[in-house]
Symmetry: C2
Subunit: 493 residues, 2 copies
């Protein structure tokens, strides 16, 4: 593990600042000192990217597919060391490491396949169109990349949403060079993945600068990148504060650029009385969705609206006990655990009915928590309406649809909403229509965690779930964040 | 002519401020006093729009098509009075009025046709997709409107890009209620069009609030609208200063929203030596593209790069004389003429080689102007690199491709670029590739003015041509500004 930045194909470590990643379970710091990129190194990475863009953007899509497939090959070749580093830097399980690696490879190969099959870049022409004017020019509309893209590694997905994750892959597929600002919590994993990408770029003869990898513990490198005139778009997965800070920085540039920030949400679940009547076999999976991986998913269900019926009290007690007994997991980092515990404490200190809490055994652990509140308590206290990132959910019981709708109106934009019911619901149902104005994905009788990679996926939602709800961060549609059209007039085919 | 705001289906004139539009040719003010909307009236229009959205957004697309077709019917019924008001408020010709009205109706009917044919709203599902996971849920991705939209009337297109223009029609097609802030220069034309829309809405039983029309002479009403939490997107055509101010306002909201500002550009033309060798029969059309309608088009060619060859001097002199002799047209408003003359004067006072200038006969006229500069003069003076909105162009002569590319690098994002040459060029040509990174439309041997309404059109470009070069403001693609996806998981068809 070299601890250096990769500026194009060159390693570089000109800085004097350095940091180490650590094992969140033991607190032990790893040996490698990662050297923070200097302003000069940042500038060089952007210049190389701008230069690479000129050629890379005009490669046939099949050439880019070749590159993406080779990244998959290089990741497979490093699978064991990658998964082992993943686990020690994140405290996530070996099973999760395997799952994320498979997902990362699937994303690479899916985009490569789509590029090879001519998707995304089909030309639209006007040869068969009517017009009110007698003479119209020949028009051909083609898509191309927007320019160099900065991707921020995500703390909670060291593989699938980080260095070779969804943002990077979709941007590379679009024709955009990528500069990754590694997440410092998993700088080792990130450096290994960067190595795989750079080896693949050289094997497939991509231009130098198509990918760079920068290390930093503080915000300065990210800020410099987002403000740099050579950067044309940004991908980010993380907290609302972090995402908003980048959005604000991008908006005050001389040339404002889009920031695609996926910032998580409260992901309401609605459990109707007909579901509650026979809830028993779902208890485990709901508790798992709340507590698994210390609840560190942007789709973790933070709010659970439960309709009142004879079995509601029993359901809440059973769920609360499962959550309390789930067994804690180490959180990704001490700073995440600290933030979790502060927000958790604030919520627990609000006016509530009841709380179920788990044991806590280690330093970087979050206490599994299920609060129970009335609709009135929920509606009157803003603290209860906001996301608490971690193994934490609030149960709100409601008497009827009118009360439920009042509660749902209090929720800001979210990634998902789940409805558990025996009822046959379609898009004409008032509840589904209300939810569709608030979220990007509605799940019938299913949990929000687990986001399928698909052309039909929407992983995004109205602000603050994401910076721009018109886009998905997962699936094939994610490429449209990095494409813009250019029309050719009077050109032959 | 009533001079009142339309808040949903109600006329309202609670304010104490009022203004009049005028005939730019004579300076004469019209009789009608337009009553500026009050903050309370603005709030009511947004509340009605938010309420209308809940139902309008879920109408079958065919119902919205019916509404759009009926607007066309109502515009046709008012054609004569509309065109006559258009001419006196804008000083544009009767021919132009007819053309814009036809274009407006064509846009309405094209979107209605597309909605009836099921475009834009086709569901994407994952039933035929492979996945790396054995079990994947059933996903259906459908498009819906983003919410209430504010559209600002454009001073230079009183019909086609104003009250029932491209922004309004695409937003209504998308399922978004629209609030139009009328342009004060043509408040009369705007009020007549608003009446047509409101009558059509009532005939086709659209919900109240699907359209409102607000009057204002100052910026306060527009600012209040863009900052209102109920508004979810903005459409604007106008100056860079105006567009940027709205972008900045939208970016600092608690929930930032997209502003689609189409702000014009320098629209470079490149005339290669092989073209110059036989330029004669194109002189008139180039001069017309520069001077027609007092050059008040966002696609007016502001920069003309001319390759040096034996006939270059003759070409420049002939073009300069045509521009000087073109005959002046009244500009849209005294404020536009004043701004034009100030910018024109600043450019003329720069270090230049030569200037051709027309006569000027009336108060609100802009002097037709063609400057001639060397590449060095162009590259070293920022004043010469910026748009001057009006009948003004700069000729830059260049010796070779290297010099040309140096000059083109100085240009900010633009809507169009034109290349005049005998050469067969395609997208692999270095000049076309360079231009494609700067503009949204590249025209081979054709003028930039005249923007075809088509699915293959891109009317947009990198900032500052537009706020977001990933979108077109003209043609069927313009609807995607106002749509976002929602995925339904586990729902039956």
């Amino acid at each position: 593990m070299h601890g250096q930045n990769s500026i194009g194909f060159q390693r570089s470590a000109e800085g004097t600042l350095s940091f180490k990643s650590s094992n969140p379970s033991s607190g032990e710091k790893f040996q490698t000192a990662f050297i923070q990129a200097t302003p000069d190194e940042v500038n060089r990475s952007v210049e190389l990217a701008a230069n690479a863009f000129i050629t890379y953007n005009f490669f046939a899509p099949q050439r880019r597919a070749h590159f993406l497939n080779e990244i998959a090959v290089q990741l497979r070749a490093r699978a064991d060391e990658l998964k082992s580093m993943f686990c020690v830097e994140s405290a996530l399980t070996a099973e999760r490491a395997e799952q994320e690696l498979q997902r990362t490879i699937f994303q690479l190969e899916s985009f490569a396949k789509a590029l090879n099959e001519g998707e995304f870049f089909a030309t639209i022409d006007n040869s068969n169109e009517d017009n009110f004017l007698a003479i119209v020019p020949k028009l051909q509309r083609r898509m191309q990349g927007v320019g160099p893209v900065v991707v921020f590694g995500a703390s909670n997905f060291p593989l699938a949403y980080s260095t070779a994750g969804g943002d990077t892959v979709s941007a590379l597929a679009a024709g955009c060079p990528v500069i990754v600002k590694a997440h410092p919590f998993h700088a080792g994993t990130s450096s290994m993945v960067a190595e795989a990408i750079l080896v693949a770029a050289q094997i497939t003869q991509m231009p130098e600068g198509v990918f760079s990898h920068l290390l930093a513990e503080d915000f300065s490198v990210g800020q410099q990148l987002v403000s740099h005139p050579g950067i044309k778009a940004v991908g980010f997965t993380g907290s609302l504060e972090g995402g908003r800070a980048l959005m604000d920085l991008a908006a005050v540039r001389r040339e404002p650029i889009p920031v695609f920030a996926e910032m998580g949400s409260v992901n309401p679940m609605i459990l109707q009385a007909d579901f509650i009547a026979k809830y028993e076999d779902q208890l485990d999976s709901i508790a798992t969705s709340i507590c698994n991986a210390a609840g560190q998913f942007c789709t973790q269900p933070g709010l659970i609206f439960v309709e009142e019926c004879p079995k509601t009290k029993g359901f809440i007690t059973s769920l609360g006990n499962r959550v309390a007994d789930f067994g804690t997991s180490t959180m990704l980092h001490s700073s995440i655990a600290e933030k979790y515990n502060a927000l958790r404490q604030k919520a627990v200190s609000s006016e509530i009915e009841q709380v179920f809490e788990g044991e806590i055994k280690g330093e970087n652990q979050g206490k599994n928590t299920l609060l129970v509140v009335t609709m009135e308590q929920f509606c009157s206290q803003e603290t209860l309406q906001q996301e608490v990132f971690g193994p934490f959910s609030i149960v709100i019981h409601y008497a009827n649809q009118q009360e439920l709708f009042k509660g749902l109106q209090k929720i800001a934009g979210a990634l998902t909403a789940s409805v558990f019911t025996e009822e046959q619901m379609d898009f004409q149902h008032p509840l589904i229509q209300l939810l569709s104005s608030k979220v990007g994905r509605i799940i019938l009788n299913g949990l929000p965690t687990g986001v399928t990679v698909s052309s039909a996926m929407t992983h995004g939602g109205p602000f603050p779930a994401s910076s721009d709800g018109r886009y998905t961060a997962v699936g094939m549609g994610s490429i449209y964040r990095w494409l813009r059209p250019v029309t050719l007039q009077n050109f032959s085919q």
